[in-house]
């Protein structure tokens, strides 16, 4: 009896240890959910009209990371957001990444485009130092955000610095025609899930980090493709975009904190084409054309006294100037500039309370010929998990 009990105990111990041991052995594949939540309060006023005060956003954006091996990673992000009285689900990206060798990684699927740096690196609410996007991004933006296709990317040390690159082929832009939306005729849309023409857009970015401490990065990007539908009046209308970006981030003891400067200049050139408008009372549309070039830029500077003591080290101040100019003669002609200031309080490296004030001066924009001045005050929070 005793022998049986001891034997049983030993067996139990042995099995227990086996199970215990296994529970702590990490698996080769790994699945992880990260992401962020964000919402806020907006107070906005256009000229002398009544102001709007509204809680906005309530975004929940889960990010799924599946590491199949040391070389293969799948990433996807969904974005649930309350907008115009309903839940909008955004499908931000879903792509697989395979590390071919030291210098080359292949990506395929729907991915954020490294056209400039704002969209790929800086737009998530817990990274963006202000509650709003600079002019030229987001709705009515002139820069592509994501695309479906394939990409090669990588980085290599060069001298005491390093370079990084990306080269991709995606479905490319769609040209908005008068038949699609007369108000936006001539604009580009980048959400092109089934290509409207056989032509693929080709783009890329080269980033140079000249200093050994990686504090400075200069980038140049391009994105070229046919935008018009195949087989129609616009089948040869091409779009050529380019961008320059700059980043400087460093903790400097002399100013007891982190100085962070980011900037991007984006230019879009679309070939000339005829668009049509129906004046009131007319039955036959008249055609018009314009030089279809737009540009946008922003510069942002932020400072956080990270070397101070107490709560002061969690405070950050930020200023940003941005500008957008769309074609003269288009229905969506606009000249706008914006100044934004903000104060942030960082609760952790990925959670922040953001307070900001901004003024946007614009002339034109969506069937609006006059000039307008929009002021906004924002109190937002963002939390990465």
């Amino acid at each position: 009896m005793k022998i049986i009990t001891t034997g049983g105990l030993l067996l139990a111990l042995f099995l227990g240890q086996e199970l215990f041991g296994q529970a702590f052995k990490p698996s080769k594949t790994q699945f992880m959910i990260r992401g962020y939540g964000h919402s806020g309060l907006n107070y906005e006023q256009i000229d002398d009209n009544d102001a709007d005060l509204s809680f906005v956003g309530a975004t929940f954006a889960p990010i799924f990371l599946f590491k199949h091996s040391d070389r293969l990673l799948f990433e996807a992000e969904l974005e649930f957001e309350l907008e115009d009285g309903e839940v909008k689900v955004g499908f931000e990206y879903a792509d697989f990444n395979y590390v071919l060798n030291k210098y080359i990684t292949v990506r395929a699927g729907k991915f954020l485009l490294p056209f400039g740096t704002f969209v790929e690196r800086l737009h998530p609410a817990w990274i963006n130092r202000l509650s709003t996007l600079p002019l030229g991004f987001g709705h009515d933006g002139i820069a592509p955000g994501s695309g479906i296709g394939v990409e090669l990317r990588g980085a290599a040390p060069v001298g005491s610095g390093k370079i990084n690159y990306s080269l991709y082929m995606v479905n490319g832009p769609v040209l908005v025609t008068s038949a699609m939306d007369p108000e936006e005729a001539g604009m580009l849309r980048f959400e092109n899930f089934e290509d409207n023409n056989g032509n693929k857009a080709v783009g890329g970015r080269l980033g140079i980090l000249p200093l050994s401490n990686s504090s400075v990065e200069l980038g140049v990007s391009f994105y070229n493709g046919i935008a018009g539908d195949a087989g129609g009046e616009y089948e040869n209308v091409a779009a050529r975009l380019y961008a320059f970006d700059f980043s400087y981030v460093k903790q400097i003891s002399a100013i007891k904190g982190i100085l962070d400067i980011k900037a991007q200049y984006t230019k879009s050139n679309v070939a000339n084409a005829n668009y049509y408008e129906l004046s009131p009372g007319d039955t036959i549309p008249t055609s018009y054309t314009f030089t279809n070039s737009s540009n946008a830029y922003f510069g942002q500077l932020s400072y956080r006294p990270s070397m101070a003591s107490g709560f002061i080290k969690n405070i950050e101040v930020v200023g940003r100037y941005s500008s957008l100019s769309t074609p003269e003669g288009a229905e969506w002609e606009q000249e706008a500039s914006q100044v934004a200031f903000g104060v942030n309080y960082w609760l952790s490296w990925r959670s922040v309370l953001k307070f900001s004030y901004q003024v946007t001066e614009s002339v034109g924009g969506h069937g609006n010929a006059g000039s307008s001045r929009r002021t906004g005050m924002y109190a937002h929070w963002a939390l990465g998990f």
Partner: protein, 89 residues
């Protein structure tokens, strides 16, 4: 943006870089740096610097791969950084 503005901006950026370069050129290249140094210099460029203690070893492996690709880090850099994160978390 007017031509004058573009040229003056580029000149300013260039002068800024030359100044920085002369201060930094003598210092060690990335290949001679430790994981801790590379973490401090690289993981701060887009977002705030993450603390190693936020994630366990297995998580750091996945995040390391994600950031290697997203942030275009070199293999040498990310290997050293992940090693460092796993040692001090």
């Amino acid at each position: 943006m007017s031509k004058v503005r573009i040229i003056s901006t580029l000149t300013a950026v260039f002068l800024f870089l030359v100044t920085l370069y002369s201060c930094e050129a003598q210092k060690a290249a990335a290949s001679q740096k430790t994981g801790a140094q590379l973490w401090g210099e690289n993981c701060i460029r887009c977002h705030n610097i993450p603390s190693p203690g936020d994630y366990n070893d297995v998580d750091w492996e996945t995040i390391g791969l994600h950031m290697r690709i997203r942030a275009n880090l070199t293999e040498d850099e990310i290997d050293k950084i992940v090693e460092f994160m796993k040692t001090v978390n």
